[in-house]
Amino acid sequence: MGWAVNKNDDTAIAASQTEALSRYFARAVQVGTAFAKFVATIAVTFLGLAALTFFIGRVVPIDPVLAMVGDRASNEVYEAAKIEMGLDRPIPLQFVSYIWDVLNGNFGLSISTRQPVIEDLIRVFPATLEMATLGIIIGIVIGVPMGVTAAAHRGSWLDQVIRTVGLLGYSIPAFWLGLVGLAIFYARLRWTGGPGRIDVFFDGMIPPVTGMLLIDTLIAGEIDVFWNAVSHLVLPATILGFFSLAYIARMTRSFMLDQLSQEYVTTARVKGVPEFFVIWRHAFKPIRIQLITVISLSYAGLLEGSVMIETIFSWPGIGNYLTTALLNADMNAVLGSTLVIGAVFIFINKFSDVMYRILDPRARS
């Protein structure tokens, strides 16, 4: 039956197919352009980041050659080292070769660990990722309902409490909260593990696979060690999560207030839709896209926030690596970690931007 269509239908179908195809094609072009723009801005921003770290590396008052050869080296050795490090060449040329090095992951040797900085970074990064990921999960699971509740009860005491919690997130120093948390929950109450990722007793028992202990212990089938790792992770991750929670709740609240003042919400209420459904089915749905942006931004922020928390909790992640390098004036390590954190930060930043543009029809034009 379907095969025996007459000619008119045939052209109609063909026409509608072409139309669908061209619409599909237009959409593909849109997404393609968005993606191309994403790649272009990200490339420019990365270049800017590299230019900044290069500049920071050059304005260092300490002579990098002297740091390498030591101050007892003869003039010949000094000059040879200078040429070997490429510091005799003009600055633009140095910058080009610096970019080349960065692209190849060559950040130089760390003075303190005597290893290539890139290897150090690969080793420590999973620890930070693990903590930040758990932190953002806590932030989402608590922060979003908090923001929605505050908006639904606008002006009530509940709203005031939630707003104040949000403002506290902007006012409490992360390192202070970490210290107080350790003193209370670890030292006094003994509810959580202390600093470090795991008890010293278990050190080196788990073969690293992903570098994330919670996963590695499960792969190794060591349930005791898994719970030990959890007890160490829960406090720093909660504190980190608190800061993302403050931001997420605040933004969720203001997005929800926007939606709740719309006419469709009034319509739904007039129709007699129960308040719970008005809030979660009607008003919450449109803000999910905006929330993606907020959540990815705060995830990027957590990578940065982990610097302080890791220092307090002796957490062997990238933040701790960076502060140790700072105190040892280990510039290769400092600039390497700055580059890596900056690159991840920029990537998440721009990625959420482009996601927003693809997902939200209003932002397309």
Binding site: I56, V60, S171, I172, L179, V180, A329, I346
Partner: protein, 300 residues
């Protein structure tokens, strides 16, 4: 000339000063209706008074050591206890307010005008100037501020001046964005066209006619940013890259008290309360100011 309520609220002010004072009065009146903003203003006022009159408010010297009285718990003689060198923590916190206020003011004085000028130039001239300046701004904006500040201080060397420079370098881009957005809305206004016809130069238009109109959104943003600036400065001090000992900087004090947190909790916690109080004060005041000066973005 008597400053009366009527004079301040006059609908047809006779001088520029009268108009400005009247506006200020209205803003204050509106702020007074917002309890949180009042609390914020009181806290900030308290900070300024404490910083100005620190020698009279402090009960002891902030740097005098008294090793026989080290690590004493809070008492009637030492309100916040003493630290590991027997110094009175209350007095150190009081003198620390001077450092915090200095940092905050200097960062604002450096970063806000820098951002204003960059943003106003980009917005006013448009074209390639806009594109170049704004892509630089965007590059700075999309980078993690704390990390960037850390790297800058690492390069410049530890110390309070370098910490201020580093924080200022990382905080101007937000102001540039605001100034540009404001400039774009004003640039084609009739009064700008009018002064242009009168032969005003671009510099004059930007400096005398555009920048003044950016100030109110700028004040809001700077106030809201203060908490972040305080936290970053304290963080730098905590890591050991900010103010150096024996300066009673709050972050550095927390860092020194870290070792004693289990038994002598007051050494590290007391300066933390000061940081929280002052940051909260700026947040409250900034929120209130935004509702009054920038109603478009208020109601959050």
């Amino acid at each position: 000339m008597i400053i009366s309520k009527q004079w301040l609220l006059d609908d047809a002010p006779k001088s520029r000063t009268q108009a400005q004072l009247g506006r200020l009065y209205v803003v204050c009146l509106q702020l007074a209706h917002n309890p949180l903003a009042v609390i914020g203003a009181i806290i900030i006022g308290g900070l300024i008074i404490t910083a100005l009159f620190a020698p009279w408010i402090a009960t002891h010297s902030p740097i005098a050591q008294d090793l026989s009285n080290r690590l004493l718990p809070p008492s009637s003689t030492h309100w916040m206890g003493t630290d590991e060198l027997g110094r009175d923590i209350w007095s150190r916190v009081v003198f620390g307010s001077q450092i915090t206020l200095t940092i905050v003011m200097l960062v604002a004085v450096i970063a806000a005008p820098l951002g204003l000028v960059v943003g106003a130039i980009a917005g006013y001239f448009g074209g390639w100037a806009d594109r170049v300046l704004m892509s630089i701004t965007d590059i700075f904006l999309s980078m993690p501020k704390l990390i960037l500040a850390l790297a800058f201080v690492a390069a410049l060397g530890p110390g309070i001046e370098n910490a201020i420079i580093a924080i200022a370098i990382t905080s101007w881009p937000a102001y540039a964005r605001i100034a540009r957005a404001e400039t774009l809305t004003i640039r084609n206004a009739e009064f700008v066209q009018a002064v242009k016809l009168q032969g005003a130069s671009s510099t004059r238009i930007i400096a005398r006619h555009i920048l003044p109109l950016c100030t109110s959104s700028m004040i809001v943003r700077v106030t809201l940013d203060m908490a972040g600036i305080i936290l970053t400065a304290a963080g730098l001090g905590f890591i050991g890259l900010g103010a150096q000992p024996p300066l009673p900087e709050w972050g550095a004090m927390i860092s020194r008290g870290r070792v004693f947190i289990l038994d002598q909790w007051w050494v590290a916690t007391m300066p933390g309360f000061a940081i929280i109080l002052v940051s909260l004060g700026f947040c409250f005041l900034g929120d209130g100011l935004r509702d009054v000066l920038d109603p478009k973005h208020g109601s959050e």
